[in-house]
Symmetry: C2
Subunit: 642 residues, 2 copies
Amino acid sequence: MTPYLDCAERLPFSPTPLRRQDPVPSDLEIAEQARRKPITLVAEEMGLYPHEIEAFGPHKAKVKLCALGRLSKLPMGKYVDVTAITPTPLGEGKTTTTLGLSQALGAHLDRRVVTCIRQPSLGPTFGIKGGAAGGGYSQVVPMQDFNLHLTGDMHAITAAHNLASAALDARIFHESDATDEQLFERLMPKDRHGHRVFAHSLKLRLGKLGVQAENPDDLSAADRRRLCRLDIDPKEIMWRRVMDVSDRFLRGITVGQGNEEKDFQHDSGFDISSSSELMAILALCRSLRDLRLRIGRVVVALDRKGVPVTLEDLGVAGAMTALMRDAIKPTLIQTMEGTPVLVHAGPFANIAHGNSSILADKIALHSAEYVVTESGFGADMGMEKFCDIKCRVSGLRPDCVVVVATVRSLKMHGGGPKVVAGKPLDPVYTEENLELLRKGLPNLFHHLEVVRRFGIPAVVAVNRFSTDTELELELIRMAATVEGGAADAVICEHWAKGGEGAVDLANAVVKACEQPSDFRFLYELEHTIKDKIETIAKEIYGADGVDYSELAESKIKEFTELGYDTFPICMAKTHLSISHDPTLKGRPKGFRIPVRDVRASVGAGFLYPLLGKMSTMPGLPTRPSFYDIDVDTNTGRIMGLF
Amino acid sequence: MTPYLDCAERLPFSPTPLRRQDPVPSDLEIAEQARRKPITLVAEEMGLYPHEIEAFGPHKAKVKLCALGRLSKLPMGKYVDVTAITPTPLGEGKTTTTLGLSQALGAHLDRRVVTCIRQPSLGPTFGIKGGAAGGGYSQVVPMQDFNLHLTGDMHAITAAHNLASAALDARIFHESDATDEQLFERLMPKDRHGHRVFAHSLKLRLGKLGVQAENPDDLSAADRRRLCRLDIDPKEIMWRRVMDVSDRFLRGITVGQGNEEKDFQHDSGFDISSSSELMAILALCRSLRDLRLRIGRVVVALDRKGVPVTLEDLGVAGAMTALMRDAIKPTLIQTMEGTPVLVHAGPFANIAHGNSSILADKIALHSAEYVVTESGFGADMGMEKFCDIKCRVSGLRPDCVVVVATVRSLKMHGGGPKVVAGKPLDPVYTEENLELLRKGLPNLFHHLEVVRRFGIPAVVAVNRFSTDTELELELIRMAATVEGGAADAVICEHWAKGGEGAVDLANAVVKACEQPSDFRFLYELEHTIKDKIETIAKEIYGADGVDYSELAESKIKEFTELGYDTFPICMAKTHLSISHDPTLKGRPKGFRIPVRDVRASVGAGFLYPLLGKMSTMPGLPTRPSFYDIDVDTNTGRIMGLF
């Protein structure tokens, strides 16, 4: 039937049967009782050669990029992005739906499927959110590894990011008390034969400065100074530090208060690792070479003349790439029904682009008939960035978008009481209330319009909770197609039933993927920065207009002069409303978007306007998730992580 | 011959032949051209079953602790610790000697050998020191993995440590504006059935407080307050944060300057990860259960009544253990000649105990005829702590100590000019100078006396550098045995020749191990804190006495009252002199040791007096090692790391 089956070395797919119980046990119990295929078998079934993976224990493997070189000659499967309506703070089961859909396609409809998801952040896992491995009978396994270190990519990003922070501060410190000649001597010392050589990064800097020289000793005094003295303006440092812990006390700090450094103390702070520009770069890079170049281009500060200082200028980009050399390989694990899952990168969609990696998607697309990927939060957030940023870089085009909706979130949008993580739900959410539900539907309609704006067929997945009534579910289903214009809308029970509960959804997705896609970007890159921001604000958020702070105005001017105006826009916005204001539920109207600041991720290749206050470092509640997490010291089993 | 050969499933050892070149190429070139056996073969040759390891790619594996359970029925091999004289800042090739000796034993003398070494810290690797994988033809491979993330243990420790830091500050923050009843409600919320349960850590806290209660609702208001309010004194926080980066600007910082936290801002700082108490615990723990208990006992602060607050009280010890669940498994790699190497833990010997793990040593001892382990810096530092701390916890006894000496360092001790990393060596170090060398010998004699004090036979390994002359080498060799009382002294050429260059050393070690060992501790635990400190100061450092600061006096009083006076002592001292003063070379006499402060690592189980100023966070030089590190983006090869 399909050309992918020609791949002779691929084993036929063997689904892992579920042993379902009713009532559904806890996520952890289900995950612990899950049967798992050896990861080498999962890889072989996906069509990967043994030499193309590196096993990390029996149930995880890194996929080497040489696999992509071979696979890229094969045709690509259908590309399905899973998004959602505006969620409650509890989430609406987007990852669960992504996995349920995949299990249905692979284990019940006999379609070759690969799922691509992001690695969760340890901060929220131990803080307020718990694990992120799906739920019920739609999970990835091993869920404990998935929720903890996996194969170390997040740690590699943290290490690389903070090496750059240390390099930046140390450079200012050392330049302060060295003459030009001393800096020259230190940066280009004579080797044992009395020769000096340019390190690679210094050669690149020579090129940037337009200086021609074969031998360091030939440089004029002026050129030595330009080459060796970065002359960073301490007031124009744009690079903070990162940590994968929810540590609110690191949001604002003063560094350099040790005895030796105290003349250089300055304000700084930590963000959570997933918000690092390196994470955005990892997700967007197309090769190891591209990763290296993008890291080199990252702007970390301005010098005293206003010229951008890059990681290449600091001489640290190569070492950072070395730290990320293994992180560039996606990690292969499996769903509970044995279909392959690639986990790669993990940016947040409210402060970054919120999508898993292009490399994982490409490996998946050349290996499967269907690739199910997930973008963070609602269609206004991760999906818009998926289309306008990720697809623009990758050249890939989605064939279908799944919009996850729940009775709970639509009731909230209809005016239901506030939903707060860790607090009991108001009964309105667990009893039938068609009126409240109906009032919330415009939020769904808005997200469907956003999808339509990109020319992609939308399928609504109504993710059933046990307290939902038939009438409530049916109301959403009908409204989504009749009023919302979705290609289809399906009630799903993958949480309780695994893939079997999402077979209807899978059939609807297969059908939608047959429709001709008419994908188009929202804006063209050559539009001005303000045009692009306003297009997103009006067409995606439904705002009346945009108001810029003085700071934002000056940044836009500066970035335009620096030539950054052709970058796409990555809005940093709350995920709890279509607007910039988290309290505005439903489908807000009659508001204007305030742009507080605009920042540049030159390495990742986008500008990010800040709409309102966005926290880039979560905090811990009084009783964090870690309170329940422990290890059974007899078995090594991790308890309380779900 | 030996009972170990009875292990039927063990494959015969197959040495990896070296392809030596003359002159010796760079460490990186040698490492890259090294042949490597699959790690599964290395494991099988060591006598491990396939199910006892978890492969991390083709050349690294974690050894599961179930292996120790099975192996512990087998007899133990000989236990050899490698130490050194007081080193120059360039190091004297201790790791290189450890590996060369192992290659000689395994690949040339047909002895079953396992080597145990520490994981290097990324901070110095990218800062001033470069890699730590040995050198020349005595290296571990894959050296790039060894020098970078290996299997992620260091990152796990960093994550666990910083989770505790965040938990500590957040707890103070949340307690400040909550009533006792609110804290009770938040820490023991009702579940969906209206029941409250004690989390595991709260149950343990109940026991600590001596409160009997089955049901949280039965607690009196006073007990609720005692249970839920830790009442931490912000002035008595003893737990900082850690990072595996040499970032001098994090030595002294102020945290909590964000808008929400600014009423709680306070001084803090970061230490390098290897100095974390968790690293010391990892090296000293005997099982997963022991790890869990030790983490729970760590004291992070005092409450306002002066009572210690532990990680168990914070409810975070279980989650930290979960983060370290895989870090407790040693990592198996190999030497260039194919002998097995266990890498585990990585504490520094100047600020911590500086030894690899007890678990790795035990697995090794039950698998081999000879185990070569390494302790940090000189015999006054890592080896003293090896004997008095590590062996006391493990119950293991060393059979022989190898003391590494070099012409270079002895000349420095004889009064040679200062040796500074990154600066050219004075010619006195590369030309024959028997007088200077002779003047430096007392440093070697002192270290041999230290070894003798513990009742262990000492073998001196004179690590040959290419500029050393025969007369110089012979002078050390003769003096070591005749004047120094070493069991033997051997000139080694393992850097240039691999194991073949250390065959004489290996034979001397085998012979020394046959001598009856008369191992004894330096002090008894029941001695007072001051007695223990003074015994080390006088007998190991040769000091005339000890002077305590006011702070140290009060800490000693406090710790004695708290019952911490039975802990062993882990001196935090410079490694660059036998004394506390790094400028005093040779064998200093007529000095007194100043104790500035005394701190407690209650989880690791030792007190650490601070002698003079010890930096717990290195800094980067103007031209750090990272300047030369990069990735060949065509091959993925890491360049410049050595």
